[in-house]
């Protein structure tokens, strides 16, 4: 019940929207979100979009991870 599934908003009609989850289209409630738009990515839980997913923040996290990985790669000395 803690599970949430990312989905892309395809169409909006008042309190409800059609969203794409891995190729399947489902009806979801968007009453909890302000200013939801077509092509937004949202997290779906028990039939409702809980919150928008931020691409900018995801990329920021990935950038940090890439820097960490690069740092570790450079820190490992080649074996004699």
């Amino acid at each position: 019940m803690c599970l949430g599934i990312p989905a892309k908003i395809l169409r909006i009609d008042g309190d409800f929207a059609e969203a794409n989850i891995n190729g399947a289209t489902i009806k979801v409630g968007v009453q909890l979100l302000d200013r939801v738009q077509i092509n937004d990515y949202v997290l779906i839980h028990t039939g409702y979009a809980l919150e928008k997913l931020s691409e900018e923040d995801a990329l920021e996290t990935i950038k940090t991870l890439q820097e960490l990985e690069q740092f570790n790669k450079e820190s490992i000395l080649p074996e004699e």
């Binding site: 019940m1 409630g29 909890l32 028990t46 809980l50 919150e51 923040d57 995801a58």
Partner: protein
């Protein structure tokens, strides 16, 4: 936006593990309080990747698992009535009550229906005006907005045959209760989807009061390992407070609109937690304005209830005192297809996750 490959990237996993290993070793017990985290940790074998001094514990984060036996018995009492259609999220049907389960009552002819969303609950109420539609409303802050939306919609549409029995629960009170009970917990992995609604701010006073670090985590392997790294760094530096790893979804403030809907419909009340017991102000009940949707107030029933099975360690497992494998019933008398306790019923329960992913031990 598909970042699955990035958050399951083997190179990132290795570099995070390298960083975790660099932090001076000391015995550390980290508890996660979200069923989704429990499942992800077991599924990906996160616990097997970490140094042996870091122990991951599953806490009271599975909503089905923490729902107490009396509530199941209450739902069964309603399900037995011929004028009632009892609606529930799926997992709850298989949780054993004292004398039966909702699944058993359904097999005997009771009108018990599984719903995925409260949208279906309202549709059922509209299609069956001669019946009382009672929704077994369980779950944490993540699930509460769906119930609030249903109540507000029922009010708008003047539905007079829709009711709920609320076992909605709040996450911070049991986290605090476990520490106050003296259970050794050094840090918490905070629940990602609860926090999407509440914001990370809801854990600030808990972190401050108990001088403990909390990191709100996502659900992929890289998310969980980065959260463990953040926690280990905070512990090493002697820092407490709340940090957000799952920043692509969670903010400090959370979803204000959802919080307003919850406040409009619910008020805090005491709740009983399986294994933990009575915790003041740890639940959400309908407030006076919406009490006409409260089944217990509008349709009183006699509840036949009794004690939980003695051999089942679900309660102690939820507190991090025992592991599923410590239980004599685990894997023989208690399996996912024939569960004795709630922790084996839900796929997010500790026992179910241990059973399903035994190959990651």
């Amino acid at each position: 936006m598909n970042f699955i490959d990035d958050f399951r990237n083997e190179k990132f996993v290795k570099s995070l593990l390298t960083e975790i290993h660099k932090i001076p070793s000391r015995p550390t017990r980290i508890m996660e309080v979200c069923g989704g985290h429990t499942m992800a940790i077991r599924r990906y074998g996160i616990h097997t990747m970490l140094p042996s001094h870091i122990e991951l514990l599953s806490g009271p984060g599975c909503p089905v698992c923490v729902t107490d036996q009396r509530y199941i018995d209450l739902a069964i009492a309603y399900a037995k009535r011929e004028d009632v259609i009892l609606l529930s999220y799926g997992d709850l049907l298989r949780v054993p009550g004292t004398y039966s389960s909702l699944e058993n009552e359904k097999a005997k002819g009771a009108d018990v229906r599984i719903i995925y969303s409260t949208i279906e609950a309202l549709e059922t109420a509209g299609q069956n005006p001669e019946k009382k539609i009672i929704f077994a409303a369980i779950g944490f802050e993540t699930t509460v907005p769906g119930t609030a939306i249903a109540i507000l919609r029922a009010e708008k549409d003047k539905l007079n045959n829709f009711f709920i029995i609320s076992a909605h629960k709040l996450m911070p009170p049991p986290m605090s209760a476990l520490i106050e009970e003296g259970i050794p917990i050094d840090a918490y992995i905070g629940p990602g989807h609860v926090s999407a609604i509440t914001g990370s701010k809801i854990f600030s006073s808990l972190a401050e009061k108990h001088n403990i670090p909390i990191v709100i985590s996502g659900f992929e392997p890289v998310d969980l390992l980065q959260s463990v790294l953040f926690l280990m760094q905070m512990l090493h530096d002697g820092k407490s407070g709340v940090n957000i790893q799952y920043s692509r979804l969670v903010s400090e403030e959370g979803n204000i609109k959802a919080q307003q809907m919850i406040s409009e419909v619910f008020t805090t009340c005491d709740q009983h937690w399986r294994g933990i017991g009575h915790i003041p102000k740890s639940g959400l009940c309908l407030n006076e304005k919406y009490s006409k949707y409260d089944a217990e107030k509008q349709i009183p029933v006699k509840v036949e209830t009794g004690p939980e099975p003695k051999a089942c360690l679900c309660g102690q497992i939820l507190k991090g005192l025992k592991k599923p494998t410590d239980c004599s019933l685990f894997g023989n008398k208690c399996t996912p297809s024939n569960p004795v306790g709630a922790c084996m019923v839900s796929s997010e329960g500790s026992c179910h996750a241990y059973y399903n992913y035994q190959n990651t031990e």
